[in-house]
Symmetry: C2
Subunit: 760 residues, 2 copies
C-alpha cells in the first residue's frame, strides 16, 4: 500500500510494469520442493566428515590432547589441534584461532577436530579424545568484569601481545558534544533508566556448515553457507598466507544467516583441508551451533535524557557496556554514538561505549546489530519523557527529528529520511487513535527507529542469451529474495518479463566483485549495478537490431520481450528471434552483454515505526501481543511481497528479542539454553497477524528510489512493547526479554499486594 | 627474431616490457606434473560409466536391438537407443542423431549406449547387445558416388525430408569471374593437375570425453573437453528443447582439440543424463575415437592455371570434390573460392565445389580446415608453372599477389597482408639461395599460404583482487597457451608483472560471452577485450589511488605493480597496499574492476612461407626431410615462445599430412587405420629441427598488432615438400600422403628402369 503523497522517481526503462509488482521468489520452488542444496548437501567426492571436540569449560588451560583412543577407531583419519593448522596470520582474533591455542576461552570452543570417513565415526571418535583441561575462573558478567580484581577472561598473551592482558577492558570510546552534564542539570525534565539485553542467537534454521578441499593445482576451495564470499576469500588468504587467486569460495544457498554467517567455520575447514589434502566437511550440530557460534552480544545501557517542558531535547548521556565476548572483533562499540543519538537532534550529548572481554562466545552480527536494545533504551526513555511532560509521544519525537543536512555523529550530512512520514502514519493509525478506548490491562506503545544502511560498491554482468533471455551474474548470495528483486530490476531495465531473467550467483573465482549480503546492502548497493548493466545490454541489442531493422537504434525499444520501432509496435519482432541472428563468428557488433560497476555517495537510511498492542495479565504477568504494526520507509517497494516479507521477518525477530529470546549462561559460563527446547524463538502460534505499511520516500541513488530494508523493521519491538506494557499496566521494564516473570515482578514492585505474604 | 623493418604499433600500456617477451605457459606446470584434470578426470559423485555399441557396418538398416543379455549383467543400469533420447530438434544432422536412427551410415557410429556402474561392466555389457543390422552397399569413394547408378549412402528420408535422397550429392557451388575457359585457351602457359588428400584425424592425445548430469533444479550440466562451450550450450538447448539458461557447459582443460572438439559426444551424454536423471560419463577408447569421431574430410582437386610467359596469371579453374562424409554439416565447400584463389589476383576464375555424402565419418574441422590440400594443389601448380616458364617461383608469386584493397572472393577488401614479407624472407633464406649447391637427390621447395582468420566478438572481465593481483575472467578454453598470452596482454595494460595475473575460464553459467577457441580466433578476437577490460581496471585503481595520493588520477601510473606519480617513482606505493585500503563497505569508488565487449571490422589474415629440404632415395622412394622452415607474419609476437610453439605444431601437423597420415577405409567402409599403430602421426625422431621465423606486419585492430596465428603455419608442408621432391628428383606428386611407395612409383613412371624386369 504505497503512500500516494511521495514522489515516484520515474524508472528509465520502457515498461514500468515490473517494478512495484508482487513476484514470488525465484528460488522458492526449489526450496519448498527440497531441491535446494544447502552447504551440507553439496556433493563432493571423497569428502571426509569432521566433528569438533568442544571445550567443556568456559575458561581453561589446555595441556596435552590425547587422541590415541580416537585414532585407534577404524575410519578415523586424523585428530587435528591448533598446531596442525598451517596458519601464518597472527592476532588476537578468532580467525587465527579456529582451534584452541593453549587456553580455552568459552565453553563449546573447538579444541580439536576429528576427521573420519563418516559422521558417525567422527562423532564416536570425538568422544574419545582426552583433553587435559585445567579450569580457571570464568568471566561471565561483563559489568563485574571491569571491577578491580576481577578474574581475567584471558590469561595468556597472544601472538601479537607482549604481555598478558591486565584487564578485561577491550575498548572504551567516548563521544562528547557540548556539555551534557550541565545541560541535564538545567533541563526541566530528566528521565533516566538502566536497560539491558542478553546475548541472542541468530537462530538460522540451517546450522553452520561447509566443505573445504584442494584442487589439483593447489587452489583452496571452501564451499559454505556464507553471506560474505569475497570477505571469506580474503580472510582465508590472509590466515593461511595464500595469494587470493589461490582461494576460491563457493557460496551455497543459505538456510538463514541474519548476520551470523559471515565467517565462522571456514578457517577451521580450510586448515583441515590444507593439512590433510583431502576434502573435509563440517556441519555443526544444533547444540554445537548454539554453544560455539557467533551470536549477538549482550548489552547494558545507562541512559539519561534532559528536555524542556515543551519536549525539546536538551541533552543525552549514555553509557553502553558491551559484552564483547571471548573474541570481541565484531563488537559494536564504534556504533554507539549513531545508535544512541537516533534520528534526533541533541544540543549536547555524551556517549561512552565500553567493551568487555568475557568467557561467552565470539561476537557476531545479527540483523541490525545492537539496534533493538539501543532503540529499546532510547525510545522507552523518550516515551517516559513524554509521559512525564504530559505530551504526545509522537509530537515529542517529531519536534526533535533531525533535518536533512544536519550533521550526524560521524560528521556526514543526514539525507532526507522517512521518519516524519512514519510518525504521520503512526499518528493516524486506528490502533493509536483509538488507544483510549481499550479495556483495562491493554495498551498500545510505539517506537521509531532508523537504520543507516550502508553504501557498498558493486558490479554486475548481464548477458543476453541466444534465446533472448537475460542472465545476470553477480557474486551476491541471495538472502530474503534479493535475487528476485534483482531480476525485477534487470527485467524492467532490459524490457522483458521477469521470467526471462536468470540471476546467477557465481563463486569468487569468476564473479564480478560483490558485496556481502549484510547490512541492508544489496538492494541499494547492487541494484544500481544490475540496472546499469541491463541497460547496457539493452543498448547493445538495440544497436544490433538497428542493422536488422534498418532503423536508428534510438528509434527502437524493447517492451515485454519484443524489439519494436517506437510508435510502431506492429512492426516488432520477438527478441529471441532478433538476437538469434547474432553471428558470433563475424558480427561487427560486440557481444550482447552489459557490465556496470557502481558506488554511492550517500547512504539511504530506512526509518520504521512500530506499534504494539498488548494485554497484560496483572495476576501472572503474561503478555498477550494482540496486534503489531510495522511501518517502514523503503524508498520504493520494488517487489512489495518481498518487502512485506522482510518487514514480517524483522518484526518477528524483534518481537522474539522483546519477549522470549536469551542465551543464558550459568555462573560457570555453561550455556543453559543450548537448543530450541530452551531457546525460545517465536513460532507462528505465538504471534499476532502483523500489519505492514510501506512508505516510499525515494532514495536519490537507489534503484527506482529503493533503499536497503532488511534491518530497520527489526529495531522496534522491544521499545514498542515496553511502551505498550507501560500504557497497559503503568510499569516500565528495562530488561530483555520481557518475560512474564519479569513483568509480574515489576508489577509487584510497583503495586505490592495488600497482604504482603501473598504471592511471595 | 622479429623483422626490423615493420612498424611496431606502440602499446598503450605503461610498461612495454611484457609484450614480446618469452613467458612459459601458465598451465604448463599442472600439465607436466599430472595435476591437470581433463574431462574424464572431473570428480562427479555417483557418476555412471557409459560405453557405445558401435555399428559394425558402414551402411546398414538397423532393426531390433536386443539388450536383454546386457541388462541381465549385474551393474548395468540402462541400454539406450535413439528412441530413448528426448530429442525435440529435427534435421539431417549428426547432432540430432547421437545414436543411429534406423540406418547406420558409417562403421563405428554409435547404435546404442550402455550405462553401468563401472567402465568394465559397461564394456562387457556393450559386447552383449545384439543389433539386428542388415548391411547394404556402402559408399566409400566420393568420386564414384556421384556417378549415375551409384549406391546411395543414405536410403531413408530423414525427419525434415519429404522423400529419400535421390543422389549422394550434398552441395554443388560454383564461383565464376570472367571467362576462365577462354582465358586458358589464350594463355601462353597452362598447367594442370589432379590432387588428392585423404581423411585425416586431428590426433588429439586426449580422446573425446565428457560427463553430463542434472542439477536438482533441472539444469542440464555437461562437462566435457570442448573448444566451443557457448556453442555446445546453445546446441544442446536446441536439441533438447531447453531454455539456454537451463543448460550449463563446463569446459575441462583440453588435451588437444585442433578443431575436432567443437561438439561430438555432448548431445549423446546430455540425452543419457536427461533420460536417466543420473550423472553419465563417456570416454571414447582410442579405437572408438578413430572410427567414430569427426575427422577432416578427404578432398580431390582438379586445377588448371593459365599464365603469360611473364608469369602473370590469366585464369584459374578448379573443381573440388569434397568427401562430405555421413554427416556433412561441417563440410567446407563454401570455402573453396577463398581457398583456391589464395592470395593471388586472377583475371578469370571458375571454381566449382562439390560435396558428396559417403559412408565414412561425420565431417569435422581440423586446423586450417581443407587448407593443406588446397595449398598443395595451388602452390604445387604454381611451382610447376614457374618451372615451365623458366621463372623464379618466388617472383611468379610476388607479381601475382593481391594488393591491399583488392576485393576477395567474398567481396570484402583485402587488408594489408604479410605475404610480400614472407616471400622476401623465403628469397633470402640460405636454404633457398644455396639450393643450387645441393647434392644430387636433394631439393628445396617452397610454398606460400594465407589463412584468413576470423573476427569474433568477445567480452572479458578483469577484477583487481584485494592483494593487488588481477583476475581475468572469460569463458575461453585455453588452447596452445592462449591464457598465457591473455595474461601478458592484461599485465601489460594493467601495469603488473605477468605472474600477478590469473586467467580464469568460467563455464557458461557465469562467463562473459566468449568465442570458440577455433579458427585462430582468440588472440585477435579476445585480446582487445582483455586489453580494454584491463585498462578499465587500471583506470579504476588510479582513480581510487588519486584520493589516497591526493593527486590527479591522470598524474598516476601503474608500473611493475607499483602505483606512482608520473615522474616521481620514488613516491610510488606497492599496488597491493594501495588497493587493500579499498573499503568495500563505504567506498565512494566503484569496485576495482573492468569489463569490455569488443568486435572487429576486419579480419587479420596471417601469411606464411614454407621451405622444405628433402633428400629422396631414388631406389626406395624414401624421403628424408632434412630441414623445414616456417616463416609467418603474426602481426605482433605477444609471446614469441608460444608463437614459435604454434609454428612448430602447425608445421609438424602439416608435415604429417604431407608424408604419412591417412585414415584409410577398405571397400566395405571399414577403417583399417584405427589406432596409433596404423595411423602415422609424426613423432619427434621422424622430424628435423624446425626453424621458425617470425614476421610482424601489425594488424590495425589486433592487440598490440597481433593476429590469429594458429592455422597459417599448418598450411604449407604438402606443397613445399612436393615442390622439394620435384626439385630433388624431378617428379611431381599429386596424392597425399607422399609415402615412399608413391614416390617410388612416381619415380619409376617418370624413369622406367633400363631392364624392364628390374624392380617390378
Amino acid at each position: 500500500m504505497p503512500s500516494a503523497d511521495v514522489t515516484r522517481r520515474p524508472g528509465p526503462a520502457s515498461n514500468g510494469r515490473i517494478i512495484g509488482t508482487r513476484v514470488p521468489r525465484v528460488e522458492g520452488r526449489a526450496k519448498v520442493t527440497g531441491a535446494t542444496r544447502y552447504a551440507a548437501d553439496q556433493p563432493v567426492p571423497g569428502v571426509l566428515a569432521a566433528r569438533i571436540v568442544p571445550s567443556l569449560y568456559a575458561h581453561a588451560r589446555i595441556g596435552s590432547i590425547d587422541a590415541s583412543a580416537a585414532l585407534a577407531l577404524p575410519g578415523v583419519r586424523a585428530v587435528l589441534t591448533a598446531a596442525d593448522l598451517p596458519i601464518v596470520g597472527r592476532g588476537v582474533e578468532r580467525r587465527y584461532e579456529p582451534l584452541v591455542v593453549e587456553e580455552a576461552v568459552f565453553a563449546g570452543q573447538p579444541v580439536a577436530l576429528v576427521v573420519a570417513d563418516t559422521d558417525a565415526i567422527a562423532e564416536d571418535a570425538a568422544a574419545l579424545v582426552r583433553v587435559d583441561a585445567r579450569p580457571v575462573p570464568p568471566v561471565v558478567d561483563a559489568l563485574a568484569a571491569i571491577d578491580d580484581g576481577a578474574p581475567l577472561a584471558r590469561l595468556r598473551p597472544r601472538p601479537t601481545e607482549s604481555e598478558a592482558p591486565a584487564s578485561n577492558l577491550h575498548t572504551r570510546e567516548r563521544t562528547v558534544e557540548g556539555d551534557a552534564e550541565a545541560a541535564l542539570a538545567t533541563s526541566e525534565i530528566v528521565v533516566e533508566g538502566a536497560f539491558s539485553a542478553p546475548w541472542v542467537h541468530q537462530a538460522y534454521m540451517e546450522p553452520q556448515a561447509g566443505t573445504a578441499w584442494l584442487e589439483p593445482d593447489g587452489t583452496l576451495v571452501v564451499s559454505s553457507g556464507t553471506q560474505a564470499t569475497f570477505h571469506v576469500r580474503n580472510e582465508l588468504a590472509a590466515i593461511y598466507g595464500l595469494p587470493s587467486s589461490m582461494v576460491r569460495v563457493i557460496p551455497a544457498t543459505l538456510g538463514g544467516g541474519f548476520g551470523g554467517k559471515e565467517m565462522l567455520i571456514e578457517p577451521l575447514l580450510a586448515g583441515a583441508a590444507l593439512r590433510l589434502r583431502r576434502p573435509v566437511r563440517l556441519t555443526l550440530t544444533r547444540s554445537e551451533d548454539f554453544a560455539g557460534a557467533n551470536p549477538s552480544q549482550g548489552l547494558r545501557i545507562d541512559v539519561r535524557i534532559g528536555a524542556r517542558r515543551s519536549g525539546r531535547f536538551e541533552a543525552l548521556t549514555a553509557r553502553l557496556t558491551y559484552d564483547a565476548g571471548a573474541y570481541p572483533e565484531e563488537s559494536w562499540e564504534w556504533f554507539a554514538p549513531a545508535l544512541m543519538s537516533g534520528p534526533y537532534r541533541w544540543p549536547a550529548l555524551d556517549i561512552e561505549a565500553i567493551g568487555v572481554v568475557t568467557n561467552r562466545f565470539g561476537t557476531g552480527n545479527y540483523r541490525a546489530p545492537t539496534g533493538p536494545p539501543g532503540i529499546f533504551a532510547l525510545e522507552a526513555s523518550i516515551d517516559l519523557l513524554a509521559e512525564r511532560a504530559g505530551l504526545d509521544p509522537i509530537e515529542v519525537r517529531r519536534m526533535n527529528l533531525v533535518h536533512e543536512g544536519d550533521e550526524d555523529t560521524s560528521g556526514d550530512a543526514w539525507p532526507r529520511i522517512g521518519a516524519p512520514e512514519c510518525l504521520d502514519r503512526l499518528a493516524d493509525h486506528p490502533l493509536w487513535t483509538r488507544r483510549g478506548e481499550l479495556p483495562r490491562g491493554e495498551g498500545v506503545g510505539l517506537a521509531l527507529g532508523v537504520w543507516p544502511g550502508t553504501k557498498v560498491p558493486a558490479s554486475a554482468l548481464c548477458r543476453v542469451e541466444a534465446d533472448g533471455r537475460l542472465r545476470v551474474v553477480t557474486g551476491v548470495v541471495d538472502i530474503s529474495g534479493t535475487s528476485t528483486t534483482m531480476a525485477a530490476v534487470a527485467a524492467e531495465a532490459f524490457g522483458v518479463p521477469i521470467d526471462q531473467v536468470a540471476i546467477v550467483t557465481a563463486d569468487t573465482s569468476t564473479a564480478p566483485y560483490s558485496p556481502w549480503t549484510a547490512a541492508s546492502a544489496i538492494t541499494y548497493g547492487l541494484g544500481p549495478a544490475v540496472h546499469a548493466a541491463a541497460l547496457e545490454a539493452r543498448d547493445r541489442v538495440l544497436r544490433f537490431a538497428a542493422d536488422e531493422f534498418e532503423i536508428d537504434a534510438g528509434d527502437l525499444e524493447i517492451v515485454d520481450g519484443w524489439v519494436r520501432p517506437i510508435g510502431a509496435p506492429e512492426r516488432g519482432r520477438i527478441l529471441a528471434e532478433v538476437v538469434s541472428a547474432f553471428d558470433d563468428f563475424a558480427s561487427p557488433h560486440p557481444p550482447l552483454e552489459g557490465h556496470a560497476s557502481t558506488a554511492h555517495t550517500v547512504k539511504a537510511p530506512s526509518a520504521s515505526g512500530h506499534l504494539a498492542h498488548v494485554r497484560v495479565d496483572r495476576e501472572t504477568g503474561v503478555i498477550a501481543l494482540l496486534d503489531y504494526v510495522v511501518i517502514q520507509d523503503v524508498g520504493r517497494a520494488l517487489n512489495p511481497a518481498l518487502v512485506e516479507g522482510q518487514m514480517h521477518g524483522g518484526a518477528v525477530q524483534s518481537i522474539g528479542r522483546a519477549l522470549w529470546e536469551a542465551l543464558v549462561h550459568d555462573d560457570q559460563g555453561q550455556l543453559v539454553t543450548g537448543s530450541f527446547l530452551d531457546y525460545a524463538v517465536p513460532r507462528a502460534p505465538m504471534l499476532p497477524a502483523i500489519e505492514t505499511i510501506i512508505l516510499e520516500v525515494p532514495a536519490p541513488e537507489g534503484p527506482h528510489g529503493a533503499k536497503g530494508i532488511g534491518e530497520s523493521s527489526a529495531l522496534g519491538a522491544p521499545a514498542a512493547i515496553a511502551n505498550a506494557i507501560a500504557a497497559a499496566v503503568d510499569v516500565r521494564l528495562h530488561e530483555l526479554p520481557m518475560t512474564s516473570r519479569r513483568v509480574w515482578t515489576a508489577l509487584r514492585a510497583a503495586d505490592p499486594p495488600a497482604d504482603p505474604d501473598r504471592g511471595r
